[in-house]
């Protein structure tokens, strides 16, 4: 579950009041007060912590709750900032405010939901902003759709201007192999894009019309001592699979084992 899912889950269960009474606050614990909105806030705070860290707070700090409450600073918060790791530092403030020892010092549930909702929105936004190049290291094979052609983006001195070369026509299943001249050894990246069938007259992804040639996946592999790289894109049960082979000067062909091809969808 990623952070966005966690926050989503949090907001949903608050809405459904699922967490009420799950965690009892120190004053309730001592039997001083009955449950009210402030104790609800506390319970939410503990729940949020557990969601983020995957563990109950007291388990996390390996101190039983009664022992912890006995020693706690009654002017401060139960979840102290120092327990929050770097990754979730942005939540340390709200976690403190939600779990203040004294119930009158806690923030309201409404305020707290607002803050979490905003954090969740920002997250959606920043994820969208990410550069496709950076979202690497995922190896699932993305689904391919019928109305699209799939191909690679060529940018090579010997091949002319930057161009989309269609390798897989997903309607009739026809495929083409393409050989790319290789100048250097090392990591080799191949950009795979897709283009809607209605836009087949457009081949330059950089032109004013070129945004219809959409990023689809980035393939990378280690590659040494070859003159050319042959690329094939295949429809493997509606998922894409790639065949990469190296061709050396003598024409000998050596194919790259599937496990050495990294595939990253966009």
């Amino acid at each position: 579950m990623d952070l966005k899912d966690k926050l989503d889950l949090f907001l949903k269960s608050v809405q459904n009041k699922e967490h009420i009474g799950k965690y009892r606050d120190p004053q309730e614990f001592m039997g001083v007060y009955q449950s009210d909105e402030a104790s609800e806030v506390y319970s939410c705070g503990m729940f949020l912590f557990e969601l983020l860290f995957g563990k109950d707070f007291f388990e996390y700090i390996s101190t039983p709750s009664d022992e912890y409450f006995m020693m706690a600073d009654t002017e401060g918060a139960v979840i102290e900032r120092k327990y929050i790791c770097e990754e979730y530092a942005v939540f340390s403030d709200i976690l403190e405010k939600m779990t203040m020892y004294k119930r009158e010092n806690r923030i309201s549930l409404e305020e707290c939901i607002q803050i979490i909702e905003k954090a969740e929105k920002d997250l959606t936004f920043s994820e969208k902003e990410k550069n496709p190049e950076k979202s690497s290291e995922c190896s699932s094979f993305p689904y391919i759709e019928k109305n699209y052609d799939y191909g690679i983006i060529l940018n090579n001195k010997r091949s002319g201007r930057i161009q989309f070369v269609k390798l897989l026509d997903n309607e009739n299943g026809s495929m083409q192999r393409y050989e790319i001249p290789v100048d250097e050894s090392g990591t080799f990246k191949i950009a795979v894009s897709r283009r809607h069938k209605s836009k087949s007259h457009i081949t330059n992804p950089s032109s004013m019309y070129g945004d219809c040639i959409e990023p689809y996946a980035l393939i990378s592999t280690e590659f040494n001592g070859f003159d050319k790289l042959s690329v094939e894109l295949k429809n493997d049960n509606s998922q894409m699979s790639v065949k990469l082979c190296g061709i050396d000067f003598s024409g000998k062909i050596v194919c790259v084992p599937q496990e050495n091809i990294k595939f990253c969808s966009c």
Partner: protein, 503 residues
């Protein structure tokens, strides 16, 4: 990281190519890819782009816009709160903002290298100043690209074929360019050869806005008796604010006119706030502008005449034109568009304004610059548009323009030209060369118009009597598209120096 920058009179746009070959654009305030090319120096704080536009509403005196058209003016400057700004300083501030925004988005990138566009008609001095502003802002310059060439690069898809000719008409906020470009290449067009080009440095959308402002000022004068255009009577912050407001309203009216292609009515009651006859006002302090398309056309009659003359230019009409590319914000003008379609009815006309989503029509030049910055296959051959020369005297003391490079010369990084000069005086230890841009017949000095664009000095020469010096000058264009000069003393064992060409 390689980027392309369209440093426009009105709008600045920055793009780059990602690994999928798509062009992405830098976002500024409000998530907009358009950075308004203006600054506001507001109480010691420098604001650039939309914050500057915002600040200008309350502080119009600190506001500078459309400064690019003064890039050829050595003297023009704006004084704000004791600080002096020239056109290149404004360009610098805009580019600095670009650089900072890039650094925020790409914190790991150490160096941004840019292709920067300029109007086709920009002189060598304007190019040098632009390049200097880029450098000052901490961006390294790959090259200067002419705007119409960038436009063709942006539209270069399968519709363009090698051997075809594209006629670009670019009317932006402050400048207008036309260029005829021949396409070359084998597998996809990669060569761009400028066959003919021309332009007007000081004609663009702003001038049309200005005519609407004039109508509004006139209407205001006739009902209030106050003349807002007279700078000696326009004093005080609120009047300046209203003047600024009217300029903004005019641009809005122009956009409305173009979109509707018919009459426009707008209310601008805010201008009444400074009216001195409010107490006796008969129209209830309401200010309404009714402008018909025809009234607008006749107010801009001379501007349109100029535009049409440049479009149907003789040096271009002799060619067979396959495509016409009408770009720039003014491609929204239905009147000019109609004129182009009527004049070139046999050609395929592409009008940038047809791409309405996300103001895409404004991005063509930046896109072309980004492509040039990232696609190394592309080769451009430019035409020199402004003849360059040195003013000399013959034996009889008569002045003439000695041509260094005549307009129309093909310019790329292999270009060079040699000229040898001698001394007029006696026993000098240095010789000074002043370079002019001129038009007209170089042999008919009285009928020539010229403008000094720079000078260089060759010093430490062996003093000699009149006519005995032999200094050879060599003019080249470097990879960046910038003119450089070196000189050789042919009497002094060919002592050769790079001279600094100062603009």
């Amino acid at each position: 990281m390689n980027i392309g920058i369209d440093l426009g009179t009105t709008n600045t746009i920055v793009g780059w190519m990602n690994i999928f070959g798509n062009i992405e654009f830098l976002k500024f305030e409000g998530d907009s890819i358009i950075l308004p090319s203006c600054i506001c120096y507001d109480r010691g704080k420098m604001l650039v782009g939309s914050p500057a536009l915002e600040a200008a509403k309350s502080n119009p005196a600190g506001f500078i816009s459309t400064s690019k058209i003064f890039m050829d003016d050595k003297i023009k400057s704006w004084d704000i709160d004791g600080k002096r700004f020239k056109a290149e300083d404004v360009a610098f501030e805009i580019l600095k903002k670009v650089k900072n925004t890039l650094s925020e988005k790409f914190p790991d990138v150490k160096k941004f290298k840019a292709v920067v566009t300029v109007p086709a008609k920009f002189g060598e001095d304007q190019i040098k100043r632009t390049a200097a502003a880029v450098k000052r802002a901490g961006i390294s310059l790959i090259e200067i690209l002419k705007e119409p060439v960038a436009a063709v690069l942006a539209y270069n898809d399968d519709n363009f074929k090698a051997g075809e000719k594209v006629y670009v008409i670019d009317i932006g906020g402050g400048t207008m360019d036309v260029a005829l470009i021949e396409l070359e290449g084998n597998n996809g067009v990669t060569g761009f050869n400028v066959l003919a080009a021309d332009g007007i440095r000081h004609l663009g959308g702003n001038d049309f806005d200005g005519r609407i402002s004039k109508i509004i000022f006139e209407q205001f004068r006739s009902c209030s008796g106050q003349n807002l255009t007279d700078s000696s009577t326009v004093w005080g912050a609120s009047r300046k604010q209203i003047k600024h407001k009217i300029e903004k309203i005019s641009e809005y009216v122009k956009k409305e006119l173009y979109q509707k292609n018919s009459d426009v009515t707008i209310n601008a009651d805010e201008v009444c706030s400074i009216c001195e006859k409010k107490n006796v006002c008969q129209s209830d302090c309401k200010f309404q502008l009714d402008l018909s398309f025809n009234e607008y056309l006749s107010a801009c009659d001379d501007l349109y005449k100029w535009v049409k003359e440049l479009i149907s230019n003789d040096s271009i009409n002799e060619y067979n034109i396959d495509h016409i590319l009408f770009v720039g914000g003014m491609s929204n003008d239905p009147y000019i568009r109609q004129y182009i379609e009527d004049t070139y009815s046999d050609s395929d006309v592409i009008c940038a304004a047809d791409m309405t989503d996300n103001e895409k029509y404004l991005t063509a030049i930046a896109r072309g610059a980004a492509i040039k910055a990232c696609d190394e296959n592309i080769h451009v051959v430019n035409k020199l548009l402004n003849s360059l020369g040195i003013i000399c005297r013959n034996e009889k003391g008569k002045m003439y323009m000695d041509t260094i490079i005549a307009a129309g010369a093909d310019i790329d990084e292999n270009f060079e030209t040699h000229h040898t000069y001698t001394n007029n005086g006696r026993f000098e230890t240095e010789m000074r060369f002043e370079i002019y841009e001129y038009s007209g017949d170089p042999n008919d000095f009285s009928n020539i118009s010229y403008r000094k664009i720079g000078e260089f000095i060759f010093n430490d020469i062996i003093p000699m009597d009149r006519g005995e010096q032999r200094i050879e000058t060599i003019f080249r264009f470097d990879k960046k598209g910038i003119m450089t000069v070196s000189a050789e003393d042919l009497n002094d064992h060919n002592r050769s120096v790079e001279v600094s060409f100062e603009v």
